[in-house]
Symmetry: C2
Subunit: 337 residues, 2 copies
């Protein structure tokens, strides 16, 4: 097994430069063009081995893919088109060259359909494998999506299903779970965890369907967090209808007993959908008619999950009246420390 220490920094750099456009290599920094009339959009994510990924659940190709996808999702959440990203890679000397190349291949494979490239980086020694990614995008000022733009009486829209990434992670960590699922269902959920799709594809439909300034963010920290952050930034509240939250079809065929860690009637599926995170959908605030038009255009698992309210609280409601309303709070979400 060829180790990073066998070929040294220069040897590794030479191999990794194959993943970068030739004209960007060789100077102290990369030169890029932001077209006139567009704003630069910049976002940063750091992923640490043992904290954000592990060999148990994420092969190196998926580590690279997920890192790129998380950053492209942040760009999508701003309404931006990707330009490229930089990678700061910290590696122990015992890392294998194969591992590093697979990470870069995963990054490249995720970027390629979006005409974005790896435009620069840094390679350093670190006791813990660490990926630091900064993604650069561009957006027309009038199309920038912001958290604070939602108004009272608007629809809250999810561009797709929630809970699948967390379900896939559970299946990877505890293979004894979900024995009643078909191989196809299991693979579909694991795919949602390892190879999430940043929702850049919905942007043209969004701009075509909506004339007003668009409110939105991505659901990287969970659907509940996204709704709560959007509402807080916009100074509104919301009523989210439990039955309208889109979840992966496999959930209907999974006979898991309810979790004991949350008081009933929050079942495991709703728990994962609200708090699992890393589904990388967009959660948008849109005028009602525009929302309907947008959902019709994109189809798939997209759904209107609720409406914004003047009351600043965010409620999870059951319109059939069986389950009493529950208020959602930010501190139920994922905190990094």
């Amino acid at each position: 097994m060829l180790l990073v220490s066998d070929i040294g920094e220069q040897g590794l750099l030479q191999r990794l430069q194959r993943f970068c456009p030739a004209d960007l290599i060789g100077d102290d920094a990369a030169l890029l063009t932001v077209p006139a009339g567009q704003q630069l959009v910049v976002t940063t994510d750091v992923l640490v081995d043992g904290v954000h990924f592990s060999d148990r659940t994420t092969p190196p190709h998926a580590v690279g893919w997920r890192a790129a996808a998380a950053n492209l999702s942040d760009l999508a959440a701003m309404g931006a088109t990707p330009i490229g990203l930089t990678i700061g890679l910290g590696l122990p000397q015992t890392a294998t060259v194969e591992w590093v190349e697979q990470v870069y291949r995963g990054l490249s494979d995720c970027l390629a359909p979006h005409q974005a490239a790896i435009v620069g980086g840094d390679l350093v020694k670190s006791p813990v494998p660490t990926l630091s990614i900064t993604a650069l995008g561009m957006a027309k000022p009038e199309q920038v999506i912001r958290r604070a733009a939602a108004q009272v009486g608007w629809a809250i829209v999810s561009t797709g299903s929630h809970g699948g990434s967390r379900a896939g992670l559970e299946l990877l960590l505890k293979p004894e779970l979900g024995q009643e699922l078909s191989t196809g269902d299991r693979q579909a959920l694991i795919q949602l965890h390892q190879y999430p799709q940043p929702r850049l594809d919905v942007l043209p439909h969004l701009f075509a369907a909506v004339a007003e300034p668009i409110a939105g963010m991505d659901s990287s920290d969970g659907l509940a967090d996204a709704v709560l952050q959007l509402c807080r930034a916009s100074g509104v509240g919301a009523q989210i209808e439990r039955s309208r939250i889109p979840m992966p079809p496999a959930f209907q065929r999974w006979q898991r007993p309810n979790s004991q860690s949350h008081p009933a009637p929050l079942d495991w599926a709703l728990d994962w959908a609200l708090y699992g995170g890393e589904d990388f959908q967009l959660v948008l605030g849109l005028p009602l008619a525009a929302a309907a038009k947008f959902i019709e255009r994109i189809g798939g698992g997209a759904a209107m999950i609720g409406v914004t309210t003047a009351d600043p609280a965010v409620w999870l409601v059951d319109s059939s009246g069986v389950i009493p309303p529950q208020e959602l709070h930010l501190d139920q979400g994922f905190q990094h420390f």
Copy 2:
């Protein structure tokens, strides 16, 4: 001592947002403007505790300063004006809030004179404190400095002295060294290590003095590395005159015996100047007349240290004829693995 785990991610974010412009906070990404006619310049650096800095030699304020300075130096090496930088910060839960705030203060203090700001970031849990910085700048296409632009018969110019950063580090690691130095000399060398100045200040003088495309890079990995990389990228060689390499004045008052680790006649001062690194000067290739004009304009420790040659080798020469020429090679420089 308040720990990061005491106040959590949201608490820490709130404290750190004081260091960022208010209009950039709260969305998934930062929005910036690159003026029409300018290109975007992007550079990334990762710094790991125990590899690139340590409490023994670098208080947290200096950790932040040096991290910002290294990135601003990369921008200067491209002829670019800074816009801002993003910070990905990996922290153990046992990190103190004071340490993190001091790092941010150091970053801010280094950025402030250059009208650049912290424009975004990410805060994650990591067993090893890690700083990942991506700096964004802008440059007019006709003023971009590139490694590959040097021509035969041009001057090689250093914008200032070399070896001081390494000398300061030695004094911090081995306080018994340099007893014959005055307190002022010691402090000056330690300052060169802890608070290097990115040479953005020389750019207006450079553009005023030189009409041709400018060749250059920074000397973050040592003066020898900079000369060798510049020559290799430009397809030229060089003769560097030993006596013309500018070094800190304190070196003349330091009675250190020659190092045993290099064959004579490479003495310790020349060794540090060539291979010490992190002096963050610019090493430029300029037509002779333009070089003279530029050096006169900026003064200080700037010097013409040699000339480029058609022979692709890089030689260290002694024009007094006492010491035989020595050829410099890339593998003598610093490698990260």
